[in-house]
Structures are given as structure tokens and as C-alpha cells.
Symmetry: C2
């Protein structure tokens, strides 16, 4: 079952957001465990509005010269839908990792390419780790102010540990296949 609407509802719980802002948040903060594309987000927002789960929040900006962006606001019905999903059983995870696939299918003949892939993967993981630490530093001071920051920090904490594991693993494998 498609989950796009729950992702959007979940993010709209805390804050009124536009389609573009929703996409940004998903890309920047959730991409290590979830992805959505514009082709999913915009049409789904339309359907959700039709179904009465969200409505357009008229941005009453003081400076009327600013362009009026379409921000969406969750409705009581939307909150109910989100709650119902939270209670449902989870489906199996979907993962597709090309580096692990290549490693699994490689033989001693592919050592040179695999070393290159591992080095790149390690570098990407190091970049990601930096971003996670930054994000963590932003959220930690606010943990008592928002009633979802604790949960986000749990997930972020897993992301950090997982990314560190990947870095360590890359180093070990690189040392081993030298």
C-alpha cells in the first residue's frame, strides 16, 4: 500500500507546509529511510484535499508584496486518518542497495572496481554523517519544546549509528581485500 499520504499528513501535523517544502524536508531529513518524488507529492496533495484530509491555509503574510504560496493544513479528519495508520501493522521494508548487491555478486576478479565503489561509498557516508550531526545539534536544544523532536532524535540516532557502521565496515573490507 502506498504511504505517500501518511508521510505528508505526518509532516503537516507539526506545521503548515507547501508541496515544495514537504519535498525538501523528505529529501534532507528522511532520505535515509524514505523517499518521495514530486510526481507523487503534488497529485497526492490534490487527492488529499479532495478527501478532506487537508485544506489550503491562506497565508496571511503581513507583507502582501510577497508571493502567496499554497500551504496545506491538516484537518481533524486528516489527523484521524494518520492515527489509524499509526495503529496498523507495518509492511516489510523495501531496500535496494547497489553497493551491497555488487559486493555480494562480485568475485576476486572484481577487486579493483569494488575498492573504488567502497571508497566512494565511504566518502558519501562520511558526508551524510556530518549532515546528521548538524541536524541533531539543531534539534537537541528544542527537545522539550516540540512533542515530536524526541521521536525524530531516536530515528536520527539510528541513522548516525548505522552510517558509522557503514564507514567502519568499508574500512575493514578495504583493509581485508588489499
Amino acid at each position: 500500500m502506498k504511504k505517500t499520504r501518511y508521510v505528508l499528513l505526518g509532516l503537516l501535523q507539526e506545521e503548515n507546509l507547501s508541496g515544495y517544502e514537504l519535498k525538501k524536508i523528505i529529501d534532507l531529513r528522511m532520505s535515509f529511510f524514505w523517499q518521495e518524488s514530486y510526481g507523487q507529492i503534488y497529485p497526492e496533495l490534490g487527492r488529499m484535499a479532495e478527501d478532506g484530509l487537508i485544506e489550503i491555509s491562506t497565508t496571511k503574510s503581513q507583507n502582501t508584496n510577497k508571493r502567496e504560496r499554497v500551504k496545506y493544513k491538516i484537518t481533524a479528519k486528516g489527523e484521524g486518518e494518520l492515527k489509524a495508520w499509526m495503529e496498523q501493522e507495518n509492511e516489510k521494508d523495501t531496500v535496494r542497495s547497489e553497493i551491497l548487491l555488487k559486493m555480494y555478486l562480485s568475485t576476486s576478479k572484481n577487486t579493483v572496481e569494488m575498492r573504488r565503489h567502497l571508497i566512494k561509498f565511504k566518502e558519501q557516508s562520511e558526508e551524510k554523517l556530518k549532515l546528521f550531526h548538524l541536524f541533531e545539534a539543531q534539534l537537541k536544544p528544542l527537545i522539550e519544546l516540540h512533542n515530536n523532536h524526541r521521536q525524530i532524535l531516536y530515528v536520527l540516532n539510528l541513522g548516525i549509528r548505522q552510517t558509522k557502521l557503514y564507514i567502519d565496515w568499508c574500512e575493514e573490507v578495504l583493509a581485508d581485500i588489499k
Copy 2:
């Protein structure tokens, strides 16, 4: 880009296999980083045979009373295609983890459901860990005999450590949100 054919070619490198056997291996041993369904595998095998990447290996079984299964065998052309893919850059990983999505989007109002999800996820991870250890024990003694077992063990090692990380994380979060 679709990777189905490389998965199949990679597995056929080591051994002649039928579509059914390929699916089994992917499900049992690779599912923590890759998935394929029958709807992908069978038509793809047909196209690969057309393209000359694989061919049907006539099973010369001694006992002719046994049903003749269609096993595929990789060709030189198939090996070339596989090698070319091994050298290519990797695309970004795709991950969709519903437990992490729910955790990220949950608030203090969802504590009861999240505890339930965490307990279940932890149990599933423990089961998976057992299977990984079993598979590892099967492969380790054969590491020198097959020139791909070393690589499979690297991936399996990551799977084991990652699964342990998930279990630890579940315990910590469960203790924290008590």
C-alpha cells in the same frame, strides 16, 4: 535503471539455476538489501535468453524419471554484460522502512502503538539474526573453495552488525519511552 538482469547474471555466474531457484536465493539470502518478484524474474529471463546473455542448460540428470527443470546458464556475452555493470557508478540507495517512518512522524500521543511496533520489529530482527548466523556458519568453512564466498561473507557480516544495531536500538528506545 532496472537491475534485475544483473542480479540474475550474478547468481548464474556460480551455478546453473532455474527461475524458481533464483527467486528462493534472493528471498532467503539477499532480502535485507535486495528484492525481486516473480513478475520481474521470469519475463527478464526470457529477454536475457533472447539477448544471448543466458541459455537453457539441458539438465542431464542420471535419473530420467525426474522432471526436467529449465535451468539457465550464463554465456560469455552475459559475463561481459555483468562485468560492464560492475564497473558502472552506483545509483542512490532506495529504502522504505515503515517502522522508522512511523517513529519519525509519531508524537507522545502514539507511545502505546510505537512500543508495540518496536517490540515486533525487535523480534523480527532477532529471527533474522539467527538466520544470518546459520548462513554464515554454512559459508565460512567453504571460503577457500569458492571465489565468491569471501564477498558474500562481507555482506553477511554487515547484515549481522546492522541487525544487532537495530535490536540494541529498539531496546534503548523502549527503555527510554517507558
